[in-house]
């Protein structure tokens, strides 16, 4: 069972701290995005990294379009991984869509979670009555178009490399280049699930201690959205980072790490 999960979610474990930290990447990337952050926590934490099914080096064959047609499918995977590794009282770090996946997993099995760190969270991307998410349906259609036109050159020959093939070292180099590559059909599906979802009502149910890390200029998750999350998660702290873009752990790792550390102390 555990071996199957390790292959499915490309689970990697590093560090030997007594506490556990599970970091989950967001849409469009994989566990490589944590590489500036993880070295700073290795001493105090056992660090668990995963690739969401369909992303990075996860088992593409495990991608079930029905299961992953809502974030619940991913949340079930998180609970499964934590159970298999016997993880309890963990610090869950979720970037972007995985912040919401963390919320759902938390609601399913609160005992697993000690603290939640959300980086650039958004419970809903599409604007609604009395809600600013930042996007319209048309914007998401444009995203899907961009995805489609960029995958025109995506060769199916890359598939085995992306799926991972440890017994063929010659693919390793290709794998290096395949950072954040995903099967185009999966990428499109995941994009729709991510950007058309609505998890606002789940925020109010969350009671776990939560840190919200917000960039001051993030086109994906604006400050307003971050503050909405802060307002609706009862036990939350909001920290505005002086960083641009949607990935402060990549663009401003020092600030991100400092904010995480001062919260976790």
């Amino acid at each position: 069972m555990l071996e199957k999960l390790i292959a499915r979610n490309n689970i990697t474990i590093q560090g030997d701290g007594s506490k556990s930290m599970l970091l989950v990447h967001g849409y469009g990337c994989d566990q490589n995005m944590w590489r500036f952050v993880t070295p700073q926590f290795k001493k105090d934490y056992k660090i668990i990294l995963i690739d969401l099914v369909g992303s990075g080096n996860s088992d593409e064959n495990a991608y079930d379009f029905e299961k992953y047609s809502s974030l619940d499918g991913y949340a079930d995977d998180i609970v499964e991984v934590c159970d298999a590794l016997d993880l309890k009282n963990i610090t869950f770090v979720g970037h972007s869509v995985s912040a919401m996946i963390g919320v759902l997993a938390n609601l399913k099995r609160p005992a697993i979670f000690d603290k939640l760190i959300m980086i650039g969270p958004s419970p809903r991307y599409i604007n609604d009555i009395d809600y600013y998410g930042g996007f319209s349906q048309n914007d998401i259609d444009e995203l899907i178009e961009t995805l489609e036109s960029n995958y025109l050159g995506w060769s199916s020959a890359m598939a085995p490399a992306i799926m991972g093939n440890p017994e063929k070292p010659e693919l390793a180099e290709e794998l290096e280049q395949s950072f954040c590559q995903t099967n185009p059909e999966i990428a499109k599906h995941f994009a729709k699930v991510t950007f058309l979802g609505d998890n606002r009502s789940d925020l109010d149910k969350l009671t776990t201690e939560t840190l919200i890390l917000q960039c001051n200029s993030d086109v994906i998750a604006s400050i307003e959205v971050g503050q909405y999350v802060h307002k609706h998660v009862s036990n939350s702290k909001f920290v505005l980072l002086d960083a641009t873009g949607h990935c402060p752990h990549l663009s401003a790792p020092k600030q991100t790490i400092e904010a995480m550390k001062s919260y976790l102390v």
């Binding site: 469009g28 990337c29 914007d139 995203l143 290096e176 954040c180």
Partner: protein, 407 residues
């Protein structure tokens, strides 16, 4: 020849656009070609616009979630297709290659990007995309149609099986109906002829006490006749059921009921009827069947008794291999089985020149027994008697026939 290459001129007039941007995306320099592509003046772009300002909102999401992450992780991205927005709001498709430029300490200082205008190629790509989508839609449609066909053929198969089932049911119902006609006439015949015998006694008798006693017998036989009629009517309803209803029946009760029905005949014949049902006092069996079987065998034995001796009829049950067997023995006329054995249970066969012989009873009895999965055997010797051995079959050993072949 000496070519004095003017690199600044090359930078500005190359057939592709160049621009440099800070890590936050702010454009700090661009060549003329890029300005031409986008229709902006230099002072409107440099230090004013960011890379993402040229992108639609959907493009910005792609930039943040895919382009920026990949550039940050690998230091380079190639052949990313965006739609760039010109000053007048129109768009043109571009392919972008970007590379991160780092200082000695490895810090990202700025990003250099090359911009190719791919308007012509894009038209072709769009056509390809449309064709691809069309072929995908077509293939999906084919898969769907295929499924529909499969479902259709399964339906037809199911309907065929259903029709076969209905046909079988009809056939069975037909058999049931013809059997029912026989059983109805026969089972009504015995009590009616009993009534006639009682009537004869009644007419002959001069004793008022005897007459009164006989009159109560009339009542009993009429009651039974009514009951038989009601049961026949009920059995018509039972025929609608898929399975034959099994009741918990006591042999003693069935026998005494039968003896009451045959009271007149028993009195007339002075027959001695004994029984021993101790080995199997009761059975799960269709009550109407068992009553019919015992009535038929008993009235047969009385009817074909020997005129040379008092009729003795003995009924008993046995259990053999978990199956209940009913044995009916008499000391009557007997049948020449060598002569008649093969026709014994056939319809409309009689073996005695007896006024009551109609040749129906044994036929029905056999069919009733076999419907429940049992069997009937006969041993007989002329002028000694006859023994019927009936393997009735217990309910738990009995496999229901697919349909009610008989009521």
């Amino acid at each position: 020849m000496n070519y004095n290459i003017d690199y600044k001129e090359l930078y500005n007039t190359s057939p592709c656009g160049y621009f440099c941007s800070l890590p936050d995306g702010t454009i700090i320099d661009s060549n003329k070609r890029f300005l031409e592509f986008s229709n902006y003046k230099r002072e409107e772009v440099i230090h004013i616009k960011k890379f993402t300002d040229f992108l639609s909102v959907g493009g910005k999401i792609y930039f943040q979630t895919i382009y920026a992450q990949k550039l940050n992780l690998t230091g380079t991205v190639e052949e990313i297709n965006f739609d760039f927005i010109k000053k007048d709001g129109t768009k043109f498709p571009v392919l972008i290659n970007s590379v991160e430029i780092k200082n000695k300490e490895g810090h990202h200082i700025f990003t250099q990007s090359t911009v190719f205008n791919i308007s012509q190629r894009k038209k072709y790509e769009t056509e390809l995309l449309i064709a691809k989508k069309k072929s995908e839609a077509l293939s999906n449609e084919l898969v769907l149609k295929n499924k529909e066909l499969q479902i259709g053929s399964e339906l037809i198969l199911q309907q065929k099986l259903q029709l076969e089932k209905f046909n079988q049911e009809l056939e069975n119902k037909n058999k049931q109906l013809s059997n029912f006609t026989h059983i109805a006439s026969h089972n009504l015949r015995a009590p009616v002829s009993n009534l006639n015998s009682l009537m004869a006694f009644y007419n002959e008798s001069t004793d008022t006490e005897d007459k009164a006693m006989l009159f109560t017998k009339f009542e009993i036989v009429i009651d039974h006749l009514t009951e038989t009629l009601n049961e026949l009517i009920a059995s018509v309803k039972i025929q609608m059921d898929v399975n034959i209803k099994h009741d918990s029946v006591t042999f003693d009760a069935v026998l005494s009921k039968t003896m009451q029905i045959l009271e007149g005949k028993i009195l007339e014949s002075n027959a001695v009827i004994t029984s021993n049902f101790s080995e199997a006092p009761d059975i799960e069996y269709p009550k109407l069947y068992l009553e019919s079987i015992i009535l038929n065998l008993l009235s047969n034995s009385i009817r074909y008794r020997s005129p040379n001796r008092i009729a003795k009829i003995h009924l008993a049950t046995e259990v053999n291999n978990n199956e209940i067997t009913l044995i009916v023995t008499d000391n009557g006329l007997g049948i020449d089985l060598k002569k008649h054995g093969h026709r014994l249970f056939k319809l409309n066969n009689t073996f005695h020149r007896h006024p009551d012989s109609k040749g129906v009873g044994l036929f029905m009895t056999k069919i009733q027994i076999e419907t429940i999965g049992g069997s009937i055997d006969v041993e007989s010797e002329e002028e000694k008697g006859t023994t019927f051995t009936i393997m009735l079959k217990k309910k738990n050993n009995y496999e229901y026939p697919p349909f009610n072949r008989y009521y």
